[in-house]
């Protein structure tokens, strides 16, 4: 990751971003925070601690000579990159750790926040600003994952608990237009103003053939048509791999949807509610997005088509599946060190999503932002924009 930090790092900005994480979690009970119901989910407590560990490890322990580590074991418990063989008797598995308690983790956050605020107050060298900026961006990424994971934890138990921090969708204009884009040579990637991640760099030229892209996302009403037309039963619409996946998992609708007495209902963080046909469809996999597009005689945009056209439509409610695999840009360079191996190692068997979502932290995304998930995942806030 590289950062040209605008705005700069101040104690106020630092604490404001950090406090957002606690706000998301403010209505959680201690019972909610230690569970990992699926491989791709982390317990909320882990997010709270792991983001804190980042600042302790890469800033305070290294650059603040008076800093005393809050608890030396936490680095071991909450470090996602820990890949060498440990000398400890037990491996820390995220989903098995009931301790430390939520309270201890919140104390840890407060402790590190206080030290960071003092440390920032004293003034920062430019490379330290970069590291802290990365830490804040990292915090915001985990804020979004927190929302995904809490929704998954709540949405897969029969009590359907609600979260104070709801992230409602709003209806887009229902009229659909296809915006034409002309063929030509376009510039792709981040232009080095403001922060970006390493995977957006390597600005380069891409030649695009002419295409048309929808001004809005696919709606629930449209998606229900697809379901009712037998979309989930027609293997011709699906990737072979996607077809096997929905058969094995018995998938017949987006995640969190349930048919109750003939009506489509869904779990949201605000509660169990009827599916609103005017809202964009959310929680679909790449497989489902692809099949839907096939059924409509359209296709998904590539990430380049999306980026080039993005100034011509509104986006930001849902991450939008593209038909681009997550691969390095031509001039992509791995930054050395632990911070550096951040993105490159995921560049196989993942698909790019562009945009942002109602769960994304404010100012965290941009038109060049490359999000990525495996094709079968659905717990992220993902939607569909058609191209042809």
């Amino acid at each position: 990751m590289q950062a040209k930090t605008i705005p700069s790092i101040t104690p106020e900005r630092f604490l404001e971003i950090r406090s957002k994480t606690e706000q998301i979690c403010s209505s959680l009970e201690p019972e909610d925070v230690a569970l990992q119901p699926a491989d791709f989910v982390s317990p909320p407590k882990w997010h709270l601690a792991h983001t804190t560990w980042f600042f302790e490890q890469f800033v305070l322990s290294e650059f603040d000579e008076n800093y005393k580590v809050f608890n030396p074991d936490y680095a071991y418990y909450f470090n996602s990159y820990y890949n060498t063989v440990g000398d400890r008797v037990l491996r820390a598995e995220r989903g098995l750790m009931t301790r430390p308690t939520l309270k201890s983790v919140l104390d840890y956050r407060a402790y590190v926040n206080a030290h960071m605020a003092s440390f920032i107050q004293k003034g920062l060298a430019s490379d330290l600003e970069d590291i802290i900026e990365i830490g804040l961006q990292h915090e915001q990424q985990h804020q979004e994952l927190l929302i995904y994971d809490i929704k998954y934890i709540f949405g897969n138990q029969p009590t359907f608990p609600t979260l104070h921090h709801t992230v409602p969708l709003t209806a887009e204009p229902q009229t659909q237009d296809f915006i034409p884009v002309e063929e030509g040579l376009y510039t792709i990637g981040h232009q080095n103003e403001g922060f970006c991640f390493d995977n957006e760099l390597g600005q380069h030229k891409v030649f695009l053939h002419a295409y048309n892209i929808s001004n809005r996302l696919v709606t629930n009403a449209e998606y229900i048509e697809f379901i009712e037309a037998g979309g989930y039963e027609d293997f011709n619409l699906w990737h072979a791999e996607g077809w096997d996946y929905i058969q094995n998992e018995k998938i017949k609708a987006p995640l969190y949807w349930h048919k109750v007495n003939g009506a489509w209902m869904q779990y949201t963080l605000g509660g169990f509610t009827a599916v609103d046909g005017h809202l964009p469809v959310v929680h679909v996999s790449l497989y489902e997005a692809f099949a839907y597009a096939q059924w409509k005689g359209c296709r998904l945009p590539t990430e380049f088509e999306w980026e080039v056209a993005s100034s011509q439509f509104n986006y930001g409610q849902l991450w939008e599946w593209t038909n681009s695999a997550y691969l390095p840009y031509p001039h992509y360079k791995k930054v050395p060190g632990a911070l550096g191996e951040y993105n490159g190692k995921f560049m196989v068997n993942q698909m790019v999503l562009r945009g942002a979502s109602v769960a994304t932290a404010k100012n965290h995304s941009r038109a060049t932002y490359r999000n990525f998930f495996q094709a079968h995942l659905r717990w992220q806030f993902s939607g569909i924009r058609l191209t042809k």
Copy 2:
């Protein structure tokens, strides 16, 4: 289950037994109670609620006409026998339910306790006494399982939390004698005084050939000898199935043991501590008990040999593996109804353990008590007594 209830059911006895469950859990944090780290483990919260549901379902809802159910959904959440297809959108899975909270479950316990105390106070018909007695015995079984499950939850995370309610072992006399028992026709099974479970009934005669049985359990020091003599590497000592199991699971020592700097350490509810050679070895599977006995040129007793000789040695610290499969006694009868199908359906591929353990509720066991677990399980408090 059948019950000739001595002592009788009083509000005091009812509340005393019930309160023991809360005592076991008193030092748990809310974070600890919702986790299910293995199939054979239930979350502590589930035990707390499920035992309560028993009294609500089989006593109050059926016989107390003024009783108002605490929460109608709880029957669905906390009913282990629920086997028909539900009409609910989501299956209640024990390990996924963060809600209801621990506090709600404790409120549920208090509510049901209060109603039960009043109900008992009014006087009980004899068959109701039987049902409540079964409920209390059921409560005590779950008290023991709670201790197993808490130990498993705590013993499989790197923080190794401790529990206020420790259940320490004490050393037996170290001298080993083999008590001789003559061949003859013996009576086996419960004699119908005091409570017993259905699987103890069907008193019957068994002819035993002469045998000798140890006056004490195998110690940690003896078991370490077995380990160091390569017992876990010599497939001739093991059942074929046991050998495959320890290979697949990479088992080299009892559960909760760790070799740290050349010394054997173990997790106990009181903390991480050195293995004491004088104490009986605990947390071994039937496979390990069998292999140890083979290595010593001995064997495990049958459950009949154990029962006949049990008056001649002390027992009660650990459940003792027998080489008897868990099968019905000759006159075993299934009691009709939901309470009746309690034990018979488990009578395949399980092995009998006899005795009791430091985790067993007071007065809950007896010489005829037939405990049973699958041969590979180790999280119960199980030990080894030799026979030859």
Copy 3:
């Protein structure tokens, strides 16, 4: 295993028993002999070679000083007991070996047969007679397994091939009587005349309470009644473990049964044919046998009840599930050496079957014979006799 060999070992008897194995396989194609469609199945070629290896390894290589091993690699390919870590680059997995060819294996059989015949002709010491007798009994066990395995290979492919060597069942008298047996002390186990396996030894006394046992096996017609009465859908009839098993495996009828246009059909070695209601039901698991007996208000006999009553009914068409776990007799002793560890290591989580089947070699079984399989297995020729 111990053997008091009657009749004695002659070249004629040796070759006659051995040739039976080739007869069973005589209508197989080379394509049929290398496949292993399930863990519990061995390829026919493996049986042909493995039984031969026994005589080469334990007789010729050890006692015939002029013998030259047919192929030194065969010991490695066809030795089921091979449990130490090999120095070869690849593990021999039965189901992956297309080579050596069937022809090579038949050559191997002829070569070893010729040497064995000459060797026997020269006269044998008594302990050598014992080893060869065990080899012949071992050969007969594999003859039966061959029939199971060929049926499984043929019965699980859409072409449903037939085998020249069919093993048809015949109808028993359809009238059912329950033979009463009085309570008393009975002697169980082999009396040391004629050959027996180690698990039959340790003759001992068993006290039996009075019981009644059916004069015939359960028929297909009776079993169809159970199916049509919803036996496979009523979890109260099943072991908990059995219920899970039939749910997971979607089992609704005995193995090889198919409902075609409303009629029950089954694959037999003679072809795909209608189920004949008068014949005994075959290819059921212990779970199914138990559930059927529950449904009839009966139970399965113990192996002791079966053995004591066996002189009073006809048996031999199907192995009969008992409700006894496979465990050692009181005086059971492990015979030292490779031949010795034959049976004891399987004595956990298996159930005993008594009798013999149409697939059993002539003179291979007897009233004390203890066959055993895991409770879920169905590819063996197993049936049901009721007790009450």
Copy 4:
């Protein structure tokens, strides 16, 4: 698929291509042809029959009114695209079918060949030429898969059989040069002369930034350096997913390699032999190719870089992993009907390989040919070309 058929379809060309398939299989034994040792492998017999079924189904049954189907069940047994629910009692699973025999399948081939030759002789409409051309290309694809699958079947059994049809590699010039390619707009895709598959169509422009590509493949000697430098133990070199894969599968070297007495040996279709350092390394996954390139400070080419530079180096011994995911070209169109859904449905989670291999049928590949496999697969003849 679309085809401008040059050369045209004649009985001679048809029979010549078809006979190549039998030639590859000519030294197989019947025992070799029915086995499926892994999901991605098909039994040789299946390849022989399936390619024949293509001509029966899409040509003879549809266009030759006198044609009588060889065996009506074969369509069911040998049709890989069969995706609707069948009415047959048993699903045809490729790896379980010992019947029909090899001889029957060869008779099937001869029968269809004779009818096809007569049919072609009578003259063909242009669209029929296209279909037959696709059938022949399909035959050639299966010829290559046959070689992969036979090698896998032979290379995973301890006997290491050899195949008459060996496909030896030859050493390239050992000097390594990096060929520079200038940035610019290039045309990618097939130009519609001669046959191509649908995935090569949609000719389009791609802008490439400047790069340098190796004149030769990575050699065994170079790859051994990587192994000995600890390449398989340094997780920094690997995709996260690749790292997990090699840990789980315990992969430490290319497929078919074995270290024997300190020297690297490998199974080839010609036998078990020492690894020759001068030859190109083969049987590596995309993960291994990527890690090797990382270790060398290089990268893999994209499929576009490969295609543009391909006229400047020799290729054809091994398929070359590119760092391009297998995705549709801009103007990619699904051809309607069963033949049409050929390629598009695999366009997710696969990586493109370019070139051809020693196992590829003559004239079957070209510079625009897009082969594809999942990133973890290694049984195909895949090698590594570096770019920087």
